[in-house]
């Protein structure tokens, strides 16, 4: 620990708040460095650190989502973050830095984390308007703006980052060219054959690749018009992005006279200390042993090493795993270890399948003992699923490593040709972003390894606790596999059982009900459960029975199973009253019906609000008023809107071709038809739909579980979107469908979901959980690969035929109505706990502070106090 003789606090300044600077501060807080140091972080960008690795997703998710510090501040008060301010000078004599706004900061220790800048080749025209680099959110914003008025874009550089940029241009709708000087794409990571395979993939997506092409100049007078290439026709383009490599930002160190590496970067030792003992450098600006690293994982390691050094620890940076796996324009590419076989004695095993577009290469070597092979590295293009297993097997030092099976080629053959399961040793690093070994993952899930903490129960928990899988995510499948294999090996079935009463998943319960033809909870319990059930399994069984049998959810055998809201066919509110939501299919309503809703709301003094789902919610109804309210609504032709059920809510519509000057199909009619078809359908979670009359998407259909968007030729069907806490855009399942096909696909999709999803799992998570994801759904729904199509459609037809309005049926049945009373022995007495105040001319719940005693109306004993909080 750094000594603090007179207890004076020391000052540590970090220059640069990028990915690595942020990681450094996090580690400094976690490991207690802020006990001795005040930390000041100065970053030049206008926002706190964000996930640059995921930069390209900015167009989809926005800046918020990328932020690594969403609150904008660290919750340790000893850390001060200054953004939007460049550090312009460093004086190692006085130990001060100068900020662009003139402020001078003294430091005891200085950490440079200034990253790198894109390299722009010094060619004529490089500064013309229309030329960009690809490094910051601001760069992307500028590119987006320029792309709006352009049709063709070109990227100079066909490396990893160049392809990312090309991806972005293509996403922005530009016809895109990639210009690479080397004879292949991604020259650093892949070999000629792999590069050729990659080129084929990318050209299939409509991009044009020019390899072996040298850019000589940017053409244009006042704005970019194209690129001039050596010995080739020029390319016309209005947007040019330079992505021809990066240069470490070592200017501060250079001006301060610190040692730099030959090819740039602040020269540092194994502890990341520069030639000045109080100045450190980490991340892309640093050159440990003279070498710079353009990936985030080595930077993270450097950050940890410096924190360790400042705490007096022995940590050292001794080189890094430069493995990469990424999805570029939808194509998997991975490169790991000695991908180019430069080690002496290296042998290459290659598997190429031009039809499938797969190229896989393993670089192996005889074990020094001569009794087997070890893995040195490899390249995977088109299918990188083996990456998670292969990368941790690489011999880090090029000699020792994990023994490969006798036929190592099995490792890269497609699964059908005999890929084998490989046991990784405990010391294998599974997550390279966060340096988590298999051993550490196992320790998290085993009872004795987790220390005081509760052992993790699933892979998600392991990711949360160990960080494995939390950065680039490429190791997640391996983490999950290790966790599940571990549970299987200790005889613990990965616990997916519903609750203590059922050792079954929701899907299994669905199946046993179908197979045995159960109609009552008690039979399911007797056959497959223990005890009497609870608030988890009862609603699940109720929902499964309702999906399969229809019938009334309040029929005697099913009533006690229903969750809160289903139990009274209304949504409970915080004060014990209910809200009432009549169905307004597609959001279309006649003035006469609107008036009825208004009259009912007025007569029962209900708070009235337009919902986010294109209908009207009436709040504050006492339980005993629900039948009276619904009598009036049903008489006026309304039905239950199932706002209370895990079932279809709304199918949102836009006005469509009937009125809208842009509409190409009648979206309103389709929305009404779909809402009426699927109304009352009980499902694992709520279901929402939307139909838009053209691509302008006014119905926000892609934020729904199923969304339909009109095209000139028919309908595009999108599935598995949602809003809520983790919004997901629905993805295209099938395009240009006629209405009949659309409905049959939707029937299949919804029934497949109802049969196989977990409890409270919305469609997006369900699709993700399926082996094969959306492709799997497409096989089952569109290609009918399981031959289930007609069965699923028949199940939906049965639902449609069996539908009746739950509220109308309840009003007909005195037994069901008998439950809607305030007190069983005083049905006429309103519950005195419920009181209202007034807000903006309507009622609102008044806060209740304890049990109320109805002393005035009925003779009583002494008031009863609440016992909450006492014991």
């Amino acid at each position: 620990m750094t000594p603090t003789p007179d207890h004076k606090r020391l000052t540590l300044v970090v220059v640069g708040h990028g990915m690595v600077g942020h990681r450094f501060v996090q580690a400094a807080i976690e490991r207690g460095l802020t006990e001795t140091y005040d930390v000041i972080v100065v970053g030049e960008e206008c926002r706190p650190a964000y996930d640059r690795v995921a930069l390209t997703s900015f167009f989809e998710v926005g800046a918020e989502e990328l932020s690594l510090l969403p609150g904008g501040a660290y919750d340790d008060p000893r850390v001060r973050l200054v953004t939007g301010t460049e550090v312009t000078g460093l004086d190692t004599e006085t130990r001060t830095v100068l900020l662009a706004d003139g402020e001078v900061l003294g430091f005891d220790e200085l950490v440079l984390a200034t990253g790198a800048a894109p390299f722009v080749p010094p060619i004529p025209g490089k500064d013309l308007p229309g030329c960009f680099v690809y490094r910051t959110i601001e760069d992307l914003e500028a590119i987006r703006e320029a792309a709006a008025g352009a049709t063709v874009g070109a990227v100079v550089g066909g490396g990893l980052l160049g392809l990312e940029a090309a991806n972005a241009l293509a996403q922005l709708g530009l016809e895109t060219h990639v210009v690479e000087m080397a004879p292949r794409l991604m020259a650093v990571q892949v070999d000629d054959a792999g590069g050729a395979m990659l080129t084929r993939h990318i050209e299939k997506l409509g991009l044009t690749v020019h390899t072996g092409a040298a850019t000589e100049a940017v053409l244009g007078e006042s704005h970019v018009t194209g690129l001039a290439l050596r010995d080739r026709e020029p390319i016309l383009a209005e947007v040019v992005v330079f992505s021809a490599g990066i240069r470490p930002r070592d200017g501060l160190a250079r001006d301060a006279g610190l040692d730099l590496a030959e090819r740039g970067g602040v020269l540092v030792d194994e502890q990341c200390r520069s030639s000045d003992p109080h100045v450190w450098a980490i991340g892309e600006c640093a050159a440990p042993a003279g070498r710079t690293y353009g990936l985030v994982a080595p930077g993270y390691t450097m950050a940890e090493v410096v924190v360790d050094a400042l705490l007096g620890g022995p940590g050292a940076f001794t080189g890094a795993d430069m493995s990469t796996k990424l999805k570029l324009l939808g194509v998997d590419v991975a490169s790991f270890g000695d991908a180019h076989g430069t080690t002496e004695g290296a042998l290459e095993l290659v598997f190429a399948d031009a039809v499938a577009g797969h190229y896989k290469k393993l670089v192996v070597k005889e074990n020094p003992d001569g009794d087997g092979t070890i893995l040195l590295g490899g390249i995977l293009v088109g299918d990188a699923s083996a990456y998670g297993v292969l990368r941790p097997m690489v011999a880090a030092d090029g000699t020792s490593g994990i023994e490969l099976p006798p036929n190592p080629e099995d490792l890269i053959l497609p699964a059908s040709r005999g890929a084998v399961e490989i046991g990784l040793p405990d010391e294998a690093v599974v997550c390279s972003c966060n340096t988590v070994t298999k051993g550490e993952i196992l320790a998290r899930v085993s009872t004795d390894g987790a220390g005081d903490a509760e052992p993790c129960t699933d892979a998600t928990c392991v990711t949360r606790c160990s960080g494995a899988g939390s950065t680039c995510g490429s190791c997640k499948p391996t983490v999950k596999k290790i966790v599940e294999d571990h549970f299987a090996s200790v005889g613990k079935v990965v616990d997916r059982s519903l609750c203590e009463h059922f050792g079954l998943t929701r899907q299994e319960i669905f199946d046993v009900v179908a197979v045995h033809g159960y109609t009552r909870f008690d039979d399911v319990m007797e056959g497959h459960g223990t005890g009497r059930g609870c608030d988890i399994c009862k609603p699940v069984v109720a929902s499964v029975l309702a999906s399969q049998l229809g019938g009334h959810v309040l029929s005697p055998a099913h009533r006690p199973l229903q969750d809160t809201n289903d139990a009274y066919l209304a949504n409970i509110q915080k004060n014990g009253t209910y809200s009432v939501v009549p169905r307004i299919p597609g959001g279309e309503i006649t003035p006469a019906k609107l008036i009825v809703i208004g009259e009912v709301a007025r007569d029962f003094n209900l708070y009235t609000k337009i919902t986010g789902g294109q209908r009207i919610d009436l709040f504050g109804a006492r339980m005993e008023e629900l039948p009276l309210i619904w009598r009036r609504l049903v008489d006026a032709g309304f039905e239950s809107g199932h706002a209370y059920g895990k079932s279809l809510r709304t199918v949102k519509s836009c006005v469509g071709s009937t009125w809208c000057r842009y509409g190409v199909q009648d979206s309103t009619s389709l929305a009404i038809m779909l809402e009426e078809r699927y109304r009352g359908l009980r499902s694992p979670h709520k279901l929402k739909g939307g139909v838009s009359g053209c691509a302008r998407e006014c119905a926000e259909a892609r934020s729904k579980d199923f969304g339909v968007i009109a095209t000139e030729k028919g309908w595009n069907l999108y599935v598995a979107g949602n809003g809520g806490a983790a919004p997901v855009h629905a993805r295209l399942l099938a395009g240009d469908l006629d209405t009949q096909t659309l409905v049959s696909y939707l029937d299949r999709f919804l029934m497949y979901y109802i049969r196989t999803a977990d409890r409270l799992q919305r469609t997006a998570l369900w699709v993700d959980s399926l082996d094969g994801g959306l492709d799997r759904v497409r096989q089952v729904v569109v290609e009918d690969s399981l031959g289930l199509g007609s069965e699923l459609e028949a199940a939906m037809d049965a639902h449609v035929d069996g539908y009746f309005d739950e509220w109308a049926a309840t009003l007909e049945d005195p037994d069901k109505l008998a439950r809607f009373v305030s007190f069983v022995n005083a049905p006429g007495t309103p519950d005195p706990h419920i009181t209202f105040r007034e807000e903006r001319d309507q009622i609102a719940p008044a806060d209740a502070d304890g049990p109320v005693v109805l002393g005035a109306t009925i003779a009583v004993g002494a008031p009863l106090g609440a016992v909450a909080g006492t014991r």
């Binding site: 009463h501 609870c534 915080k574 049990p851 002494a862």
Partner: protein, 124 residues
Amino acid sequence: MTTTSQATSSDPTTYTVVCRLDQVEREGGVVALVGGAAVAVFRTYDDEVFALDNYDPFSRASVLARGIVGTRGDISFVASPMHKQAFDLRTGHCLDDAAVRVPAYDVQVTGDGQVLVGGVRSNS
């Protein structure tokens, strides 16, 4: 249903008839007004009857009778309909938070199927 209003806390042995047993569904509950308080009366699958104060101290609403009745291990409980905290039907103890308890009432079922609610149980 008539309310007999002879219950007083000074005489805990006095019981009020609140309803017939068949008015309480198995694994369901009703609310009765007893001595001015809202009391939730529950019936388990094997026809045992329990009574708790209807007031849910977590959500501060009078709603417990509307919850799902089930078992945790051997304990019969009701889950609050609001946020699902479980309460032991016998004692009113919250099974999810040892510091919280709702009052439990004495109950009886007469031979002719009447449910009677008495005073608050002092301990247990």
